[in-house]
């Protein structure tokens, strides 16, 4: 999208994919807050405290790109999430027949966690309310951590709460009294700078700052093992909350646990399609079968493919991969007569080798290549499926096929070779979809769970031991103002004539942190352990405020 206009965004220190993400997310935020998409840039610019020509230009360019994008979508007859909301609100909801149908269909309305509702949802509830027989809204007045996704707690309060009869549920089933009290204090101190003191107790365990992030991850891993082996906790009693929840964190802690026979699962979706060797093999085969796409697979990938399908040792696989890539005009499996080939492939593998070689050859000779998802299905059934394929691999293949199908369905309308595009983006590392099955496994298995704060709060989980990593990191207070967006301005409760000041930003950051940390602590039943490192993953000094609040409140 950002590439549509060459030379746009001069003066912005950012990547084009990042800007594209910000623009699409702006579109969604505008739609769910009933803000016309053509006014996004102006609204954001008007709210700026420091107005500069260069910024005006940037917002103007963003608006232009969005306009072109919308136009293109209309021409091609596709719509994205933001447009879907807009169309629904503007076309369907204003249609009398549809409205009557809707009212007839719905008698009872139940909505949970309304504090995380986006304005459009609130409006929809409001719209239905007079017509339904009963309306039950679950509301956690302490919530509101979903603001990054457009939720607007303030709007919920304004529009819904007063209209409802309120049944209060004051008892907490997810944490003990002291934690309840501590989390409220922490909230007050952060949000309102109320001076509070809380007498330190062993259930709130502050680990002294470690020098390096790697020290911290290892110490956390070791502490988890102690909790399980010496203090009688089950792995599933423990949740590790990290703002990164990246593969390094997962691997470092995971390996320590593994040595003791335990496992950690990451609730945050971080996996790329090509992370799974099986999916990677499918993609490599696709590259080999479609020379016309002009994307030759890499040597590492061909070697991995050979290892998977022919079960040859890595050294010989690598030699063979070299031969495959050396073939002209395009990489292919060499003829069996090729000198020394039989020895390398192994006699017992020759039959399989020949089968694959011929399969690819025949496929390449087909007049019209299959759509990429059909190709994956065919390869999966005819080449890869064997007794040794695990259930996990089958799920991965299924996810790949599903993603490909959806992608092809949409992108082919843009008059592009969608199959080729899919291979390209898969290589670029798009994330893999997550099946309900996998999620279910994460939530219910006996694993230590790792998650980002918001992903954890969005799940129904609570835990006996809550471990917070990197509490001196700045990531706990993300800034709402980004290069070309601002979540507080691009929402319904924002007054167009106001200026978004630094004081507001500071208040908003503190508010977010206060809400987030209180909600997290209230999901902690018995023990809270914090970790921090002086230096960040990049070797820079950590100086976030959360650790300081802990220090301020806790007294010996």
């Amino acid at each position: 999208m950002a590439q549509a206009k060459k030379g746009a965004f001069a003066g912005v220190t950012s990547y084009s994919d990042r800007l594209a993400i910000e623009m699409t997310s702006n579109l969604v935020k505008a739609a769910i807050s009933d803000i016309p998409y053509s006014e996004i840039g102006e609204r954001l610019y008007n709210a700026l405290e420091k107005k500069e020509d260069i910024k005006k230009q940037v917002y103007k360019e963003a608006d232009e790109i969005i306009r072109d994008y919308r136009k293109k979508c209309m021409e091609l007859g596709i719509f994205d999430f933001g447009m879907a909301v807009e169309l629904y609100n503007k076309c369907l909801l204003t249609d009398e027949t549809y409205r009557n149908q809707l009212f007839q269909r719905i008698d009872h309305l139940i909505v949970d966690n309304i504090e995380e509702c986006v304005p459009s949802e609130v409006d929809f509830i409001n719209f239905l309310m007079p017509k339904v027989k009963t309306c039950l809204l679950g509301y956690n007045h302490e919530g509101g951590y979903g603001q990054a996704f457009g939720s607007n707690h303030e709007y919920v309060k304004k529009q819904l709460i007063d209209k409802m009869e309120i049944v209060e549920l004051n008892k907490s089933y997810t944490c003990k009294d002291f934690m309840y009290e501590f989390s409220d204090m922490l909230f007050d101190t952060i949000k309102n700078s109320t001076p509070c003191k809380f007498k330190a107790r062993p259930e709130i365990e502050r680990t002294l700052p470690l020098e390096l992030r790697s020290d911290m991850l290892e110490e956390a891993g070791n502490r988890i093992v102690e909790l399980i082996e010496n203090e009688g906790y089950n792995p599933s009693d423990i949740a590790v909350i990290s703002n990164y929840a990246d593969p390094v964190t997962e691997f470092v802690i995971g390996r320590i646990l593994e040595r003791h026979g335990y496992e950690i699962k990451n609730l945050a979706r971080m996996n790329k399609i090509i992370d799974n060797p099986f999916s990677q093999a499918l993609i490599t085969l696709a590259q080999l079968c479609h020379p016309a796409y002009g994307s030759a697979p890499g040597r590492d990938d061909v070697r991995a493919l050979i290892r998977i399908v022919l079960k040859i040792d890595p050294v010989r696989s690598s030699i063979l991969a070299g031969e495959v890539l050396a073939q002209r005009p395009f990489a292919e499996f060499p003829d069996i007569e090729f000198p020394g080939l039989v020895e390398r492939v192994g006699y017992y593998n020759i039959e399989k080798y020949e089968y694959i070689r011929n399969w690819i050859k025949e496929y390449r000779e087909m007049e019209k290549p299959l759509q990429i998802h059909e190709f994956f299905q065919k390869v999966f059934l005819e080449i890869l499926l064997s007794n040794e394929v695990s259930q996990k691999d089958i799920i991965e293949a299924k996810k790949l096929i599903d993603s490909a199908e959806t992608f092809v369905d949409v992108v082919s309308r843009f008059n592009r070779n969608a199959s080729k595009d899919f291979l390209d983006i898969a290589k670029k590392g798009i994330k893999s979809a997550e099946s309900i099955f996998e999620l279910e496994e994460k939530l219910n298995g006996n694993f230590v769970l790792m998650s980002t704060p918001v992903a954890y709060l969005s799940s129904p989980l609570k835990s006996k031991v809550l471990i917070l990593l990197s509490i001196s990191s700045n990531n706990w207070t993300p800034r709402s103002i980004k290069e070309i967006t601002n979540i507080h301005v691009l929402t319904k409760t924002w007054n167009e004539n106001d200026i978004y000041t630094e004081e507001m930003e500071e208040q908003n950051q503190k508010h977010y942190l206060a809400v987030l940390i209180r909600s997290l602590l209230k999901r902690c039943e018995e023990k809270l352990i914090t970790f921090e490192s002086m230096l960040s993953a990049n070797g820079y000094e950590n100086d976030g405020i959360l650790a300081e609040y802990f220090d301020e409140i806790l007294t010996q």
Binding site: S14, Y15, K50, P247, P314
Partner: protein, 665 residues
């Protein structure tokens, strides 16, 4: 506390306002500044904010941190949140991270290290050259060049141009000139002006920088200053956060750094430095007169530290003589004021740490005909010294990295134990190199050479052959175990070693003399690890790296570096899906690579301690603040240290037309 003149006054008296501490080399600045900070914290004088200490290098940051925290601990005070030690860039980063949107930057902006900066400038020059080939050749002495040399000359000129552009772009940025402003200003200079080229290249460079989501070091300084100047709220926050601002190495400060610290300081500003040690002026924008004028300001309290116990009387006399000579007899009059009349005094005789008294070697000088002879001669002497004084620490200091390489070559050929003090080599780079060797092998495991390199450098790192270093270069040697093994595995098919068809290695193929060695046994024992590495799926490269670090039992610092590489790899692969294992290996194995910076930070945490019996090789710049018992100073000649304006300097470009070679002012 053993405080000396000047130190005592600082620690006991300085409680606010402007204060300058001019300190001679070896005066114990870090020691007394740390003690001062502890004294302030212990008494709560620094409240309500923190003490900020800004110093020049990461190693110094850690040195300060360790000293302050050790002293606080000793006194039973928990004051870790009461002070913050940082480089100026660390401080600027902190400031910018507060509000990256003010400069329209993504919050995850990356900092372009010096190595990548050169790459980026070089590619910007390439782009510029495509449309400006005439200009590129304009100053080259094409007539006197043979056609066979043209390629090399283009390459050299390109490299030199990189350096020129680096400093020109730095100058633009420090002065807050944007690319379009630069272009406008340079328009009237015409197409033959190098400055006008610089404005073109600056534009290309800046565009690439922004699209990559990068800020370079100059951007950080400039933007931090701009943010503090334009955003009162932010400035107020920093003034509240730091109630005392201390600048170490103040003689190396530059204009922007000076402004930033003065802005934040809000009155309480302590500067420590030595104008006679201002060594950065020749290659950076630092300006030692800033410190001098701070000292001279009427409202600045000055406590001078003049005593040092680092050196013998003879060395102190020599240093003082040098200062006096420059001030009174320097042949170029304008240079006489470059050193201040600040002389080193030895400590009183009853000082608990007196000046060393050494009769055995003292000060010696030698004259050589060429650098090659000099390097050889110096290494000879150093080797002699190790033997004669095995308990002493020894250093060879060189003026340039280029000269360092010959010294290293000679030390290596004599098998003399040495350590290179350099961001991009030796210890600091060891982990990256290890990872590189392994990944290089994993990328092409059938390559015997790579297999041998990995085995020798990463797996079988023990001593197999005696390591007595030789005094002569070409002494004949018997073939060692390591060599026997290397010769064999380089040539023998790797698959037959790791995955022999019959299950075991064909013994009849292995040289008999190798079979009997210890290294062969260790080698065959280690093959399981190699196989484990090879069989680990390499689709997720970051996991592969962490797996390597686990299997090779990396120590704490090495693990930190491996985790950093693993974290960055994911990002790199996202940026460039065509990246392969071999590309990663290539990056890791290049002496200057993108991970050096972090590796440097980690190794700096350990601090540098010279070891007796091991020769430290360092540039003069890097040796600052360090101590050895015996030091060889090399390259003391007009080319490396020009005295007269006619002296040729190392910056001279021989391939340019005569009139441009070494322009006289």
């Amino acid at each position: 506390m053993g405080l000396r003149k000047g130190q005592k006054e600082l620690v006991e008296r300085y409680r606010g306002g402007k204060c300058a501490i001019p300190a001679i080399p070896g005066g114990g600045k870090t020691h007394c500044l740390s003690l001062w900070a502890v004294e302030m914290i212990a008494n709560g004088y620094h409240k309500p904010g923190k003490i900020l200490i800004v110093t020049y290098m990461n190693s110094a940051v850690n040195n300060f941190k360790q000293r302050i925290s050790a002293e606080l601990q000793k006194r039973g005070i928990n004051g870790s949140k009461d002070y913050f030690v940082s480089t100026i860039h660390g401080l600027c980063l902190q400031i910018i991270k507060e509000k990256p949107d003010l400069i329209i930057a993504n919050e995850e902006f990356e900092i372009l290290d010096e190595v990548s900066k050169i790459h980026l400038i070089s590619s910007a020059i390439d782009e510029w050259k495509r449309y400006n080939h005439r200009e590129f050749r304009l100053y080259l002495d094409m007539e006197n060049l043979s056609s066979s040399k043209i390629g090399d000359v283009y390459k050299s000129w390109h490299e030199k141009l990189c350096r020129i552009m680096l400093s020109a772009i730095g100058d633009f940025k420090v002065k807050g000139i944007t690319p379009s402003e630069a272009k406008n200003k340079c328009k009237s200079l015409g197409r033959d002006s190098i400055l006008s080229w610089a404005s073109d290249i600056y534009e290309i460079y800046d565009r690439r920088l922004k699209m990559g989501g990068y800020l370079d070091f100059d951007d950080m300084l400039y933007n931090a200053k701009k943010m503090l100047q334009t955003d009162e709220h932010l400035l107020e926050k920093y003034r509240k956060k730091y109630s005392f601002v201390c600048e170490d190495e103040a003689q190396d400060s530059n204009y922007i750094q000076n402004e930033i610290l003065t802005l934040i300081a809000n009155g309480n500003l302590l500067r420590v430095g030595d104008s006679n040690q201002a060594i950065c002026g020749s290659f950076s924008s630092s300006d030692f007169t800033l410190f001098k004028s701070f000292c001279d300001a009427p409202d600045t309290t000055v406590y001078s530290i003049t005593q040092s116990s680092r050196n013998t009387r003879d060395i102190i006399d020599l240093a003082n003589y040098f200062v006096k000579y420059v001030r009174e007899n320097h042949p170029v009059h304008e240079c006489r004021d470059s050193l201040l009349p600040q002389y080193i005094e030895p400590v009183p005789k009853d000082d608990p740490r007196p000046n060393p008294v050494i009769d055995e070697y003292g000060i010696k000088a030698a004259v050589f005909e060429s650098w090659e002879e000099e390097a050889g001669g110096v290494v000879d002497q150093a080797v002699q010294m190790i033997k004669k004084h095995p308990d002493k620490t020894i250093a060879i200091l060189v003026p340039t990295a280029w000269k360092m390489s010959l010294i290293i070559d000679i030390l290596q050929s004599r098998k003399a134990p040495f350590e290179q003090l350099d961001n991009t080599s030796g210890e600091r780079n060891k982990t990256l190199k290890k990872l590189g060797r392994i990944i290089d092998f994993l990328a092409v495991p059938e390559d015997g050479e790579k297999f041998s390199n990995m085995i020798n450098e990463c797996i079988l790192t023990g001593e197999y052959d005696s390591t007595v270093f030789t005094e002569l270069v070409d002494e004949t040697e018997t073939v060692g175990q390591r060599e026997l093994l290397s010769e064999f595995i380089k040539k023998y098919p790797v698959e037959k070693i790791l995955y022999p068809m019959g299950g075991i290695i064909e013994i009849s193929d292995v040289p008999k003399e190798l079979l009997q060695t210890k290294i062969w046994k260790d080698f065959t024992d280690s093959l399981d690890i190699v196989r484990e590495l090879l069989e680990f799926p390499n689709t997720v490269v970051e996991k592969l790296i962490l797996f390597i670090s686990e299997k090779l039992r990396f120590d704490r610092e090495e693990r930190a570096i491996a985790q950093k590489v693993a974290g960055d790899v994911r990002y790199l692969m996202n940026q460039n899906p065509r990246w392969r294992l071999s590309d990663l290996a290539f990056e890791l194995l290049s002496p200057k690579n993108m991970f050096n910076y972090f590796a440097g930070i980690v190794w700096d945490l350990k601090g540098f301690e010279p070891h007796p019996g091991v020769v430290t090789v360092a540039t003069y710049h890097k040796s600052k603040g360090l101590e050895w018992d015996i030091v060889f100073l090399t390259g003391l000649n007009n080319a490396d240290f020009p005295v007269l304006l006619e002296d040729k300097f190392m910056g001279e470009f021989w391939f340019l037309k005569e009139q441009y070679k070494n322009p006289q002012p």
